[in-house]
């Protein structure tokens, strides 16, 4: 089990509907928390990686701006972008910057502020994260793509709208416990089932809400991690894969091939199996995405994800607690910040610092972060 690179600090801003400050101020909130968590000064940081999807705010090349505001000059910095999977790709890059010997300590900062543009504008921009020549001209948007996956899953495996609603009920239960979540309300099953249809069969509560937010994860090599951190959390396995951006290149729509490939790599690198994982954060931008993740990650066999849902096995106390911080559905999904926030949740779980959301005795945790509709996938396995 490789213990070469560890997380030594994590931070996250509150995820909110409309952050009243600038992107630099938003990023600082997560950075401050992570730096205090790591108890280091800015001079210790060898490089920064800034993760964000462009065009939601007007700043271009935000890494320069953010590095300046955080006091991270003259250290190098760059932007990594994989839409919704940007900050786990940033963590993958940071891992290799460290493992390669180029840097000892790297800060990965993810942020997104979408609230200065309208919802239709943000949907248009998201649509242009698909194939702009051959898909966007039809008026595509994220809910529609995932809705097509949902219908394919329903048809092939007998899953239902009710199963999806039950996933949202779980998210809201834990979102209510998370004081950094954007959606703190309860969602009862009937409420979810009776909500308006966004893109059939997905309804309002099947979709995560846009949020503004930032996350920060500080990584260090073995020596510095042991020296600096009383509770380093190790990156034991990393997997990354892609699928064709255009849906026409996909073999099937009832799962995400990129997630299966990334999971395989991560388990192999860590020397672990799905049943070894004690707590997971999966990319539930839509309820169907969480259901597919159960199967793609091997927590359930193909088509058997519904059994976990129906038996409550993904709650705390179940076989494999998933998204017990509220997930993207309730905690919120500020695109570039999401992966870092998922990693933060797992780090707190493995340190035993997750408070009311704690999975007792969690030893191994997994993060599953998807970019676009199954275009990019990162799976990261962490351990104490």
């Amino acid at each position: 089990m490789p213990k070469d690179v560890a997380v030594i600090g994590v931070g996250q801003s509150a995820f909110v509907r409309g952050y009243p400050g600038s992107i630099r101020e938003l990023a600082f909130e997560a950075f401050r928390e992570a730096m205090l968590d790591a108890s280091i000064g800015v001079k210790e940081i060898g490089a920064s990686v800034v993760c964000s999807a462009p065009e939601y705010d007007r700043q271009r090349s935000p890494s320069g701006l953010i590095a300046e505001y955080l006091g991270l000059n003259p250290q190098p910095t760059f932007v990594i972008e994989n839409v919704c999977a940007s900050s786990t790709s940033g963590i993958r890059a940071a891992y290799s910057l460290i493992k390669s010997g180029l840097h000892d300590i790297v800060a990965v900062i993810g942020f997104q502020k979408m609230s200065e543009i309208s919802s239709a504008e943000s949907q248009e921009r998201m649509g242009r994260g698909a194939d702009i020549m051959w898909e966007s001209p039809f008026g595509t948007m994220m809910p529609a793509y995932y809705a097509m996956h949902a219908r394919a899953h329903f048809e092939k495996h007998g899953s239902t709208e009710r199963d999806l609603a039950m996933i949202r009920v779980k998210s809201s239960k834990y979102g209510m416990l998370n004081d950094k979540a954007v959606y703190r309300g309860e969602v009862k099953l009937e409420k979810a089932l009776n909500a308006g249809v966004v893109s059939s069969p997905l309804k309002v509560y099947d979709c995560c809400a846009n949020a503004d937010g930032a996350s920060c994860v500080i990584l260090a090599n073995r020596d510095r991690a042991v020296e600096l951190s009383p509770k380093p959390v190790w990156l034991l396995g990393l997997g990354a894969a892609t699928a064709p951006m255009n849906l026409t290149g996909r073999e099937a729509l009832d799962g995400l091939s990129c997630a299966r490939a990334a999971a395989r790599q991560a388990y192999q690198m860590a020397g672990l199996q799905p049943q070894d994982i004690d707590v997971a954060e999966v990319h539930d931008c839509f309820t169907i995405a969480e259901l597919m993740a159960y199967e793609d990650l091997g927590f359930a066999g193909p088509g058997k994800g519904v059994d976990l849902v129906r038996n409550g096995e993904t709650y705390i106390g179940g076989k494999i607690p998933v998204n017990v911080d509220g997930g993207l559905l309730s905690k919120g999904h500020p695109i570039g910040a999401t992966g870092g926030s998922q990693v933060r949740t797992i780090v707190l779980q493995l340190r035993g610092e997750a408070g009311a959301m704690q999975v007792p005795g969690a030893e191994f945790g997994l993060v599953h972060n998807i970019g676009g509709v199954g275009i990019y996938s990162n799976v990261i396995i962490l351990g104490r």
Binding site: R128, F138, G139, A144, A152, T248
Partner: protein, 137 residues
């Protein structure tokens, strides 16, 4: 130039496969086929990732496909608001899969995954040109 005429709203005008739009004008839905390795591509491509060649010919997407999945969109992104609701679909024609919209007079209740579907060419009111699907009987 030319590709700006594709679909409700095109986001780019220039591509080596802009002749696709000319074929739509003639009522034909075309894919490209690599001269070297015979693979057929939809969306059409100017370059082959298998053999790195750029010798392509245009071949028609014919016959009846199978409906892989579909969704009715009730909220549209900027620029598409006037079209809602509309149904996005993925159709498998055997050699290629094609992504597009169902014809606007087809209700989603009439659709079923796996049903036979054909593609037809359509001209939008503003001179834009596209293809759309409808159930084949």
């Amino acid at each position: 130039m030319g590709f700006e005429r594709f679909g409700r709203k095109s986001f780019t005008s220039q591509t080596k496969v802009a002749a696709f739009v000319d074929y739509l004008d003639k009522g034909e839905l075309r894919a490209t086929k690599c001269n070297n390795c015979d693979q057929v591509f939809f969306p059409p491509r100017a370059d082959c990732p298998n053999c790195l060649g750029d010798g392509m010919e245009w071949v028609e997407v014919e016959g009846t496909g199978s409906l892989v999945s579909f969704t009715q969109v009730n909220y549209a992104p900027a620029g598409f608001e006037g079209d809602v609701p509309y149904i996005l679909s993925l159709v498998d024609f055997g050699k290629v899969r094609v992504f597009g919209r169902m014809r606007s007079d087809v209700p989603q209740e009439a659709l079923k995954v796996g049903m036979p579907v054909k593609a037809v060419i359509c001209r939008l009111s503003d001179g834009q040109v596209a293809y759309e699907f409808l159930p084949a009987r």
